[in-house]
């Protein structure tokens, strides 16, 4: 969250390289260190798991020699630090090992499930931005009025409500009682396997294939989980937009613009809003990252075959490689989005560059 205040210690100016390049190099360095640490943490977690990975491959009945063979094949006889470097080496080559459950490469599984999560989180963020930004701006402009109170309540509820419970209530009301939306899963059972997988995102794939029935069915299934994620995104984005706008609106240049006789719409949208765009993009990037995480619980509720469900299923069946792979991928995306928003901030907001 507070990445923007990072790097308080590195302040010496290098005369050899242009400052932009220095920033980039520093960022790349910190990404590498963070990623190494992240993989190390997941690696350690995986190694202290109270489950014997060898047993889950060879089975309870295996002889001692079979066991030892598998033990050595997994590299478990090497010192743990060597195992870690093996692991890093594999990860760098896009190899997260083989799932202990279904013997498929974890990387392949993740590639297969990830588009479902991406689709869900993207639509969720889109809804959050489209609703949250105007709500935040209006709440700031009409501070203290009923609409500001509405925005406040929306945000408070979003910060306080368990997302899986909201999902269940949504299913109960909109699927169980009203029947307005499709139930759990990405598609109704009659629409499965009609559309060839191109991007892995059903909405896109069905559009590309021209299968509008499938498209419509997929829409009825995604609308509820995406709205629920979108609500959380909206709560966060509207709150941040409001506080950014309040800061701008109290600035003197706004008074000047008003005194000049500019129409209020220009003052608000061109002057004040124009100045919070960069901050907003960083907030949106963060909220996108948070949605990828929020997807873990939402996907469980909606039986959405994305990375969240993949990780939780793997967890409950103690599929170590799958858990580690999933965690590293989610962590990597998280870090990259963080860095991305941090960089945007640095380059577009001159106040942030020290």
């Amino acid at each position: 969250m507070a990445m923007a205040e990072n790097n308080g210690s590195g302040r010496r100016k290098s005369p050899l390289l242009p400052p932009v390049l220095v920033t980039i190099l520093k960022t790349v360095g910190s990404v590498i260190v963070t990623m190494l640490g992240l993989t190390f943490v997941t690696f350690v977690i995986g190694r202290v798991m109270p489950i014997d990975p060898v047993l889950s491959i060879v089975g309870e009945q295996a002889s001692k020699s079979t066991y030892d063979e598998a033990y050595a094949a997994l590299g478990l006889d090497k010192p743990i630090i060597v195992q870690f470097f093996y692991y890093i080496w594999d990860v760098l080559h896009g190899d997260f090992g083989v799932s202990l459950l279904n013997a498929r490469p974890v990387a392949e599984d993740i590639r297969r499930v990830f588009p479902a999560t991406l689709e869900l989180a993207t639509i969720g963020t889109f809804l959050g931005v489209v609703l949250g930004v105007p709500l935040g701006v209006i709440a700031a402009v009409k501070r203290g009025t009923w609409i500001d109170q509405v925005a406040r309540v929306v945000a408070l509820v979003g910060y306080s409500m368990p997302i899986f419970w909201l999902g269940l209530m949504g299913l109960l009301i909109f699927y169980g009682i009203l029947g307005w939306v499709g139930g759990p899963g990405r598609l109704g059972i009659f629409y499965e396997d009609i559309v060839p997988t191109v991007t892995g995102m059903i909405l896109l794939d069905s559009m590309l294939a021209g299968e509008w029935d499938v498209f419509w069915n997929a829409t009825t299934h995604i609308v509820l989980p995406a709205s629920i994620l979108g609500y959380y995104s909206m709560a966060y984005i509207s709150r941040m937009t409001r506080s950014f706008m309040l800061e701008q609106l109290s600035a003197e240049y706004i008074t000047t613009a008003r005194v000049k006789g500019l129409p209020e719409r220009t003052v608000i949208w061109r002057h004040a809003f124009g100045n919070i765009k960069v901050q907003l993009i960083t907030v949106i990037a963060l909220s996108y990252a948070n949605l990828l995480e929020g997807a873990v619980l939402t996907e469980t509720i909606f039986s959405w075959p994305g990375i969240g469900q993949y990780i939780t299923t793997a967890l409950l069946s103690a599929d170590m490689n799958a858990v580690l792979g999933g965690t590293v991928v989610v962590g990597l995306i998280f870090v990259l989005l963080n860095i991305f928003s941090d960089l945007l901030y640095r380059f577009f907001d001159p106040r942030a560059t020290k």
Binding site: E5, S9, T34, Y236, T300, I311
Partner: protein, 308 residues
């Protein structure tokens, strides 16, 4: 306000502009803060809910109409209001209201432990990093960044998976994911305090770093940490409920609210109350923490208006 009495009333003593002792000044500041908080009706509602929660947890055996663990399969999945079961019964015929009342103890247990562990770890790491500076600062903050870079829930999931499911491990996992923001706050505070004149004065008097950190820096970090703790508790409750919901937190038959929702999930379309009621409890308590946290921020840290 000025009566002709010479002996000040308690209120006057608290409102004084000229405190007579250090303790007096402290009480006066606390009283002024309390007055500001009291005028914030939303924060008071939050505080009221939390006081109520503590009372419910304390007097659970007296308040619960039924035993939360006794199963009665003949009486399963009764809708709210059926003979003495105000909120109905669950799939094993247990009284939902009684289970929720006992569940408040688990919620308080988790919240209290995390509220103790995470800020203390963060305070230690942050003040040491901020005061020591140099490579210690770099290393500690790098570690903090790594933990911050993780999506919290996923990290907690992985920890619980490694440690084994259970409520203590859930507390540990949540604390392990919750300390980095405290470390950052404590470090930032330390950096501003470190260079102030009064620290220089204490140093000249011969104070050692340990004394400076524990006696002079920690007390000044506390107020911003308290605000953060209160605001964080809502997230902690949601995380604990999420872990319970996934079956990684409190184990059955424990009446943990998240686990109760998970039990009711299978019947959501036919027997809505089983999952709905505990969710309302989670929502109410985390809302209360958010309301109180917002109010406390206005009292203790008036400069910042945003959330998160």
């Amino acid at each position: 306000m000025t009566d002709m009495t010479h002996k000040p009333t308690l209120r006057e003593w608290l409102m004084t502009d000229t405190p007579t002792s250090r303790r007096h000044a402290k009480f006066a500041a606390m009283y002024t803060g309390w007055l500001t908080l009291k005028s914030n009706s939303m924060a008071m509602i939050g505080l009221g809910i939390l006081v109520l929660l503590v009372l419910i947890a304390a007097f659970a055996p007296l308040l619960a109409p039924h035993d939360p663990f006794v199963q009665n399969l003949a009486n399963r999945l009764q809708p709210p209001g059926t003979d003495g079961h105000i909120l109905g019964t669950d799939s094993l015929g247990r009284d939902i209201l009684s289970r929720m009342i006992y569940g408040s103890r688990i919620t308080l247990y988790i919240v209290t432990l995390v509220a103790l562990i995470a800020p203390i770890v963060g305070l230690l790491v942050g003040t040491v990093a901020g005061y020591a500076g140099g490579w210690a600062d770099t290393i500690l903050m790098r570690i903090t960044d790594i933990f911050l870079a993780f999506p919290r829930l996923v990290l907690a999931l992985a920890f619980v998976a490694a440690l084994g499911a259970g409520i203590e491990n859930a507390v540990l996992a949540i604390s392990l994911t919750a300390w980095p923001p405290y470390a950052r706050i404590a470090r930032a505070e330390t950096l501003t305090i470190r260079n102030s004149d009064f620290i220089a004065a204490i140093k000249l008097q011969g104070a050692k770093p340990l004394r400076i950190i524990t006696r002079h820096i920690w007390p000044l970090c506390i107020s911003s940490l308290i605000v953060r703790v209160t605001l964080d508790m809502a997230g902690v409750i949601l995380a604990a409920a999420g872990l319970g919901f996934l079956g990684l937190g409190a184990q059955p038959p424990s009446p943990e609210w998240g686990a109760m929702i998970s039990e009711g999930r299978r019947f959501i379309l036919d027997h809505w109350w089983v999952a709905t009621m505990p969710g309302l409890a989670i929502f109410t308590v985390s809302l209360a923490f958010n309301l109180l946290g917002d109010g406390l921020r206005d009292v203790l840290d008036p400069k910042d208006g945003g959330h998160g």
